[in-house]
Point group: C2
Chain length 136, copies 2
DNA sequence: CTTGACCCTGTAGTTGCCACAAGGTCTATA
DNA sequence: TATAGACCTTGTGGCAACTACAGGGTCAAG
């Protein structure tokens, strides 16, 4: 009963990942090549569904496919020290924090700029002015 | 004296934009086709340098090339109401704010996850566990 | 036996560039 | 005058992570 095999469409629905995305994951080696029916249809196992779900969750957390590949390799090695996992996650967190900092600075600049808008003509628009270079 | 024309390399240095990027902007219609020397070298005017600098500043603020194109069109129309500029900038700000919100939620999740790490084996790694689907 | 929903492969588009390759040009120096 | 090296030209392909076809094959229901 654990042998229920899924077509790509069924897998796709179960994992909430587009079928074309699944094929893409296969092409880049993130998902294994599945079994095939006589008619060359892909057939997925429960384990492969679990793998795809893992990928989807990781993507939701913003991990890159490269890092997800690394996480999946680690996940298979149950006896191993989980420090490597920690490193990947911490690196990712650091990147998220950097992006937040960048975007926060950007938000400030944009708010200032928009706040200065006097709603007149382009000729005295502060936004355009801020973007325009000073004539040398 | 206002007639000083620049090669793509000179333009590139002056505006702090890669030469290949300038050619790319030309291809997509963001920069105009410049004059050419007898040897087919591109020659840029001061006005074109100003346009490229405008683009660079706008990119630094995270505007997409499409929006920059729109901003440049508006910027040329000095008598026009600057409301359209305000709309573009405000839309952009809204997107930045959305991204900050998304990333902030992500940061929280990642921090929680990493904080739960007990530094044992993969088998009881909270991070891997959180990513793994519950077996049905 | 046909309709419609599924599946297949392969290719091209998205965004904003960067990195070649293979050639032409220009300038300075030996 | 020859030549080295820095510049310029076009065209192509790559990056991330998909998405959207086109042009076919397959399968189950009515």
């Amino acid at each position: 009963m654990a042998n229920q095999r899924l077509t790509i469409g069924e897998l796709s629905k179960a994992a909430h990942v587009g079928a074309e995305t699944v094929r893409y994951y296969e092409r880049i080696g993130l998902m294994p090549r599945p079994a095939r029916t006589a008619a060359n249809y892909r057939l997925y196992s429960a384990e492969q569904l679990a793998r795809l779900s893992f990928i989807r969750r990781s993507r939701e957390l913003g991990f890159t496919l490269d890092r997800i590949k690394a996480l999946l390799e680690l996940a298979g090695d149950r006896a191993r020290d989980c420090q490597a996992v920690d490193v990947i996650a911490s690196d990712h967190l650091a990147e998220v924090e950097r992006k937040i900092a960048d975007l926060t600075a950007l938000r400030r600049t944009l708010r200032d700029l928009i706040g200065q808008c006097r709603h007149g003509t382009i000729a005295d628009c502060r936004i355009i002015e801020a973007l325009s270079p000073v004539p040398a």
